[in-house]
Symmetry: C2
Subunit: 132 residues, 2 copies
DNA sequence: CTTGACTCTATAGTTACCATAGAGTTTAGG
DNA sequence: CCTAAACTCTATGGTAACTATAGAGTCAAG
């Protein structure tokens, strides 16, 4: 199949697929006479694997690592576990950061009544105060 | 003062300051004979304002808008309020997304015992299963 | 045999910077 | 006075994971 069909079957954009190829995540089997990329059904599964990983916010570099690991079935999978653990930690950190941010934004928002002028705007005044 | 001193006083990097200038957020008063940027103490406050906004994750475009609004003291400040409200909403959305992600990552993590091999790794198997 | 749909490569854009190169400026010490 | 260190300048490329575009070639149907 050509790249457009692969895109339709997986819900990826054509450009993403080319991008994954450039990043060594998904090679096309071969090219047609007219230099079009050709794929078989195994590539559909490979691309779905990539998509699944991306939906979990794994980076392309990490996905590449997973693909490589997957090709050494006998090895221990501690690296896989460690990668996921580290991700969970990163996400938790980010959530905490955003929650702090949310608190600050709410406080800021409460410093201005809706029907004020720019000159009296509590938000602008608060933003102008030097923070520690 | 020169750019290095401004940087030290505000905790910004020299590059950031030049970047803000290119983005029309902070102009230098004038240049020295040797073409160095020169600033006065008012610029310290302006830069602190920018830093404060950045710490709340406002984009440079939004900060530029706030600076412009700030120069029209008589106008209503509904736009300011709206900007902050919209930010709060964006952050809330992002927190929800990340919490969903966190749940998925935890479930994934639980699918593999620590001492497994790649071939039997529950994580890799789960990632290979086509999602709905 | 032409027209429209598809594909190709290469390049620029997104965001808010950081890093670097290569050159000029200033300042403090010897 | 001179030089070396510290500072500054502009311009460029890199980050992440794509999206969008240009300009050209390929293919299938009517």
């Amino acid at each position: 199949m050509k790249i457009g069909e692969l895109a339709k079957l997986t819900g990826c954009s054509v450009q993403s697929i080319r991008h994954y190829e450039k990043e060594k995540l998904l090679a096309s089997l071969r090219r047609s006479d007219g230099n079009f990329r050709l794929y078989d059904s195994a590539k559909v599964d490979q691309l779905k694997f990539i998509k699944h990983c991306r939906s979990l916010d794994l980076s392309l570099a990490e996905i590449r690592q997973l693909i490589e690991l997957n090709q050494q079935p006998g090895m221990g999978c501690e690296d896989v576990n460690r990668m996921i653990d580290s991700h969970i930690e990163q996400v938790a950190l980010r959530i905490n950061e955003l929650q702090d941010l949310q608190d600050k934004l709410m406080a800021l928002r409460n410093s201005c009544a809706s029907q004020s002028t720019v000159k009296e705007c509590g938000i602008l005044q608060t933003l102008s105060v030097t923070q520690k």
